[in-house]
């Protein structure tokens, strides 16, 4: 499980802390969502988890081990991250790409063993991209590419998985498919942390939602607890109403129209 306790992250020239005393937990077997407006600190938390941002205060732990005491490769054997952006300049076969997820286990020189091949095969199947294994990464659609990236993360065989906005630019079907995939990965026992703007989908799929505002936790809990019109209005500074999703009755957010004061 991932534990974030009183985390403070700050960038060199920023006036205020990007993350300012945030605490939450991502238990195994659950899908936990991190939501909030742009600039509320979501990506900074992911960066802190990867040790790519300076942790000024507090701790981030994975299975009770402080990430700042882990080496980079130890960390990569404990948590797999699918970052928001990734431009691969040189296309390669999907299988070779997914196999790069074994790097934290192989290091610079060890040749892939049977276990490594099996991990790659399993990851391809789990993410539902085994049919794409022989394709080139530059021939994939947006949805396929995201699933292949998730497969690469799964090949790392870590107990925790973090995804930063994995459904940006995807259409409804592909977006739903990714959420279903993440949900089933959580059920299989992974601790899954999902950074997402899609409050309505998050409300349907996540066990817990952590809603950030200006680097602090504004509210957290189940969808029913978090999806409160007044609170969301004050966080997003936009008028909203909460309705019920007609299919399963989950709370759903509807932003209202309002003329811009130009």
């Amino acid at each position: 499980m991932i534990g974030v306790v009183d985390l403070v992250v700050s960038y060199d020239r920023a006036r205020s802390n990007a993350v300012d005393g945030v605490s939450f937990a991502v238990p195994r077997g659950q899908l936990t969502a991190l939501a909030g407006p742009n600039g509320s600190g979501k990506s900074s938390i992911v960066r802190a988890l990867l040790r790519r941002a300076d942790i000024i205060g507090g701790t981030v732990t994975i299975d009770n081990r402080d990430v700042s005491t882990l080496s980079y490769s130890e960390l990569a054997r404990m948590v797999a991250v699918v970052p928001q952006r990734e431009e691969a300049a040189f296309p390669s076969r999907v299988r070779e790409y997914v196999a790069l997820g074994r790097y934290p286990h192989l290091g610079l020189w060890r040749a892939p063993a049977k276990d490594d091949d099996r991990a790659v095969d399993e990851a391809l199947v789990q993410a539902g991209v085994e049919d794409l294994a022989g394709r080139n990464t530059d021939e994939l659609s947006g949805g396929e590419w995201q699933r292949v990236r998730i497969a690469r993360a799964l090949a790392q065989k870590t107990p925790a998985l973090v995804l930063d906005e994995p459904t940006t630019f995807l259409d409804v079907a592909h977006e739903m498919a990714i959420f279903e995939l993440l949900s089933s990965l959580a059920r299989s026992g992974l601790a899954v942390l999902l950074v997402s703007h899609q409050l309505n989908l998050v409300a349907r799929f996540a066990h817990t939602i952590v809603l950030l505002d200006a680097g602090k936790v504004a509210t957290s809990g189940t969808a029913a607890e978090v999806m409160n019109a007044e609170r969301l209005e004050s966080i997003y500074r936009w008028p909203v109403v909460i309705t019920r999703d007609p299919a399963i009755g989950a709370p759903a957010l509807v932003p209202l129209r309002r003329p811009l004061n130009l």
Binding site: R51, Y72, R77
Partner: protein, 309 residues
């Protein structure tokens, strides 16, 4: 072998083998052993160094148009050499050393500039590339100023050097270049898997357990070292570092360990071939080697640019 045999004076292949074993006509022995062979070996080493350097850089910068000379190495090395010429230094060894020091100095300036220019202390590879280009441009300006005040002989020497040539090959130079290429090239091959991971982008590299900042700088430095060594040995030989990695990738290689090795071999072959052309197209005049490789490289560059656009 063909490259050893042909030149302003042709030596038959049989005579080449004779000469290598120390038999036959003394003139042929001298031409083969002291002129041609070191020259061919030097050309091969220069090509190997530039090819390996380019392959590593394109991968770690995720930029198919990256090449070693963009790092400011060439400009810095040229400044070093021209400064040496301007002070009337005529010793080959000293000019080589000056070029090497200039090239490495330029890289460190680029590293420093990228730290200032970056958003934070964790400057990314792109900032590094831009810093290299800027340092290179500054170096070129410095060369112009230096040459404007120089004597005609100095200008000629400096120009010839900037056009690139394997003509001044000596066994001493070959040995020292071979050592640097084995060292820096070997290190790149050693860390090649990190380059595979780096080529996925900094965030992804970090998620796979590679400290992208440290690892990126290491590749940058090693690639620059290779380039500086080749530039100091044979002047500026353009476009090999850009073109050769693409040829190696066409061979179906993706992982950087075989890719870097293949790029070294292809680079060696190309430079030896280009040097052969430089010597034999219009004998006894020698065409500048750097110009020949650039004549081949520019059209390729444009085609590549169209494809990525």
């Amino acid at each position: 072998m063909a490259a050893v045999a042909y030149g302003a004076v042709s030596v038959s292949l049989a005579a080449v083998f004779e000469a290598l074993r120390g038999h036959g006509d003394p003139t042929a022995i001298a031409i083969v052993r002291d002129l041609r062979l070191p020259r061919v070996v030097l050309g091969a080493l220069v090509g190997a160094g530039l090819g390996a350097s380019g392959a590593a850089l394109q991968g770690s910068l995720r930029n198919p148009l990256a090449e070693p000379y963009l790092l400011g190495v060439s400009g810095g090395a040229a400044v070093g050499a021209v400064v040496a010429f301007a002070f009337g230094v005529s010793s080959n060894a000293l000019i080589t050393l000056a070029a090497f020091v200039g090239g490495i100095a330029a890289v460190f300036v680029a590293l420093a500039v990228s730290r200032v220019g970056g958003r934070s202390t964790r400057g990314d590879m792109r900032t590094l590339l831009i810093a290299g280009v800027i340092v290179g441009a500054f170096a070129n300006a410095a060369i112009m100023v230096a040459l404007a005040r120089a004597e005609p002989n100095t200008v000629r020497g400096a120009l010839w050097w900037m056009m690139g040539s394997a003509a001044d090959a000596t066994w001493e130079r070959v040995t020292w270049l071979a050592a640097s290429i084995l060292l820096a090239g070997g290190a790149l091959v050693y860390w090649a898997r990190e380059i595979d991971v780096l080529s996925l982008g900094e965030d992804t590299a970090a998620s796979l357990g590679v400290d992208s900042e440290r690892s990126g700088r290491r590749v940058f430095l090693l690639a620059a070292l290779l380039a500086a060594a080749t530039v100091s040995a044979a002047g500026l030989i353009g476009f090999i570092g850009l073109v050769v990695p693409h040829i190696a990738r066409r061979l179906g290689l993706r992982a950087h360990r075989p890719l870097i090795v293949a790029a070294a071999l292809v680079g060696a072959t190309l430079v030896v071939a280009a040097d052969l052309a430089a010597r034999t197209v219009a004998p006894p005049t020698e065409l500048p080697l750097g110009a020949i490789t650039a004549l081949l490289g520019v059209p390729f560059f444009l085609v590549q640019l169209r494809r990525t656009a």
